[in-house]
């Protein structure tokens, strides 16, 4: 990718499309917007590949940061449009867990297996969290809300939200340590 090889872009896309598409879909929801945001995510990664430094973080973290950022940008743009037409906010919707079946359908079956394994581990770790900690985490990550906004939305003191988020992240890091090396 860093040398501008388009075949590398294709391989990179095949490797990461499932999880990027999952994340963008979770935040943005509208299929047309999802497709745009997924494309823009990989395009940004392609254009900025030369800036990626492996010693500063994993490819997964770098790419998910781009995907989340692009998704929240789009979500906020949609929200502004909806506010103009007095439709309900979509921020809350983004933080809600969908009950849709999970089929990432990557081209390579081994990637599908890997994706499902990671997903199972992450979901199991999340399931161990108390609901209020999980809520704080998801409103922050998928909903793009700050701790102050989460406190306002949930009616909890800011200190409580900070504690919940902190405990949730530390537990998650402990449970997901097995995946961290794989992501590099």
């Amino acid at each position: 990718m860093q040398s501008g090889d388009e075949r590398a872009l294709g391989e990179f896309y095949d490797r990461w499309f499932p999880v990027v598409n999952c994340l963008v879909t979770r935040i943005v929801k509208s299929p047309d917007d999802v497709e745009d945001v997924v494309e823009e995510t990989f395009w940004q990664a392609w254009r900025q590949a030369s800036r990626f430094a492996a010693d500063r973080g994993s490819v997964q973290t770098w790419l998910m940061t781009i995907a989340r950022s692009r998704s929240l940008d789009r979500l906020r743009a949609i929200k502004r449009l909806r506010q103009d037409s007095l439709e309900p906010s979509v921020v809350e919707e983004a933080a809600q867990t969908s009950a849709d079946p999970i089929v990432p359908s990557p081209a390579d079956p081994s990637l599908e297996v890997e994706h499902q394994e990671r997903k199972a581990i992450v979901l199991a770790a999340l399931a161990e969290l108390p609901p209020e900690q999980r809520e704080a985490l998801e409103l922050g990550y998928f909903g793009g809300l700050s701790q102050s906004e989460i406190a306002e939305r949930t009616g909890q003191p800011l200190g409580t939200i900070k504690t919940r988020m902190r405990l949730a992240m530390l537990k998650l890091r402990d449970r997901l340590s097995v995946l961290r090396e794989d992501a590099r």
Binding site: E35, T61, T65, P101, Q147
Partner: protein
């Protein structure tokens, strides 16, 4: 500018920074601290790795992924190929031909289309558009030679309609490309601003650190201890700005639930300047801001305390130095 955070304050907010769930001012202050802190920098990276894994918890409908997957892939590869334009020999020629057709359509001028004689088999078969003045000449020419008939007018009109449609389609495509390009430029511009902000923040942090070590009012004290491989530290006290920078080495590993705490010893009592932890290599750095008259400092000490720190020292003294 954001208020400078103590190590303890910044450390406590790293999880929220990793989730990008801080308000702007607090986020800037935390990132500023983490950029220059050997403890918080790696901790933030680790928490960001954890946050990124949340992406795997997202569900996805099968049909959406299947339909869009190959379409996005094709578009990306096309964009990447086009971005390397100079290497594609056919591209400039194709663009030149498009402009030839697009110009009259965009200007709202109707024209007659006929096959351009210069077209060769295998090249882009783009019709040649005649402007009204040329059209008049064609009609006069056709009348002079006696082969002008009503059916030719109908055919010509049909061709004109097709050409107009083609021109419109190309114009719309061109507009979409321009919009995409504008959007991309706006994104790149926003990213450049973000990178610039981060660099400015990191630079300010470094400047502040250097000033705290090299300023003309900075006093340096060496903290020592005894033992076979004793820890040692240097404290840089910038009296002009009330900043304290402690750099320690060979710090013994802390048991779980314990932390190091820095104390400023004054005639009125011992003042906590904050808590800190060391890296796995035994290195640590902490910065604090605390105003203290120069004559009030008697000594500096580091003790081992329960996590979170204590109001007064209770644990073993790890390092100490007398004020000069």
């Amino acid at each position: 500018m954001s208020r400078e955070l103590t190590h303890e304050e910044a450390f406590a907010a790293l999880d929220a920074a990793a989730l990008d769930a801080l308000d702007a001012a607090e986020r800037d202050a935390v990132l500023w601290h983490a950029a220059g802190c050997p403890i918080c920098g790696p901790e933030l990276a680790s928490l960001r790795d954890t946050a990124a894994m949340l992406a795997f918890s997202s569900p996805l409908a099968a049909d959406t992924a299947t339909r869009s997957r190959s379409r996005i892939r094709s578009k990306l590869i096309d964009r990447a190929s086009q971005a390397r334009g100079p290497r594609e020999s056919s591209l400039p020629e194709a663009r030149a031909t498009e402009r030839e057709v697009r110009a009259p359509a965009a200007a709202g001028v109707s024209g007659i289309v006929r096959d351009a004689p210069r077209q060769q088999r295998g090249q882009n078969a783009v019709p040649h558009v005649l402007f009204p003045a040329e059209r008049k000449e064609v009609v006069q020419h056709e009348r002079r030679f006696g082969w002008f008939r009503p059916e030719w007018t109908a055919i010509a009109a049909a061709i004109v309609a097709v050409a107009a449609m083609a021109g419109l389609a190309i114009t719309m495509r061109d507009r979409d490309n321009l919009q995409a390009s504008l959007k991309e430029q706006a994104t790149l511009s926003a990213q450049a601003r973000t990178v610039g902000d981060s660099l400015r923040t990191a630079l300010m942090s470094r400047d502040s650190l250097i000033a705290g070590l090299t300023g003309k009012d900075v006093a340096m004290m060496t903290l020592t201890a005894t033992g076979s491989r004793p820890p040692f530290a240097r404290m840089f006290w910038d009296r002009a700005h009330n900043t304290w920078t402690l750099v320690a080495h060979n710090m013994p590993p802390l048991p779980t639930g314990r932390t190091y705490q820095l104390w400023l010893v004054t005639p009125k009592g011992k003042i906590s300047a904050g808590t800190f932890a060391s890296s796995s290599a035994g290195d640590a750095m902490m910065r604090a801001t605390y105003p203290l008259p120069a004559s009030d400092l008697r000594a500096i000490a580091v003790t081992e305390e329960p996590a979170g720190g204590m109001p007064q020292p209770t644990g073993e003294m790890v390092l100490a130095a007398q004020a000069r």
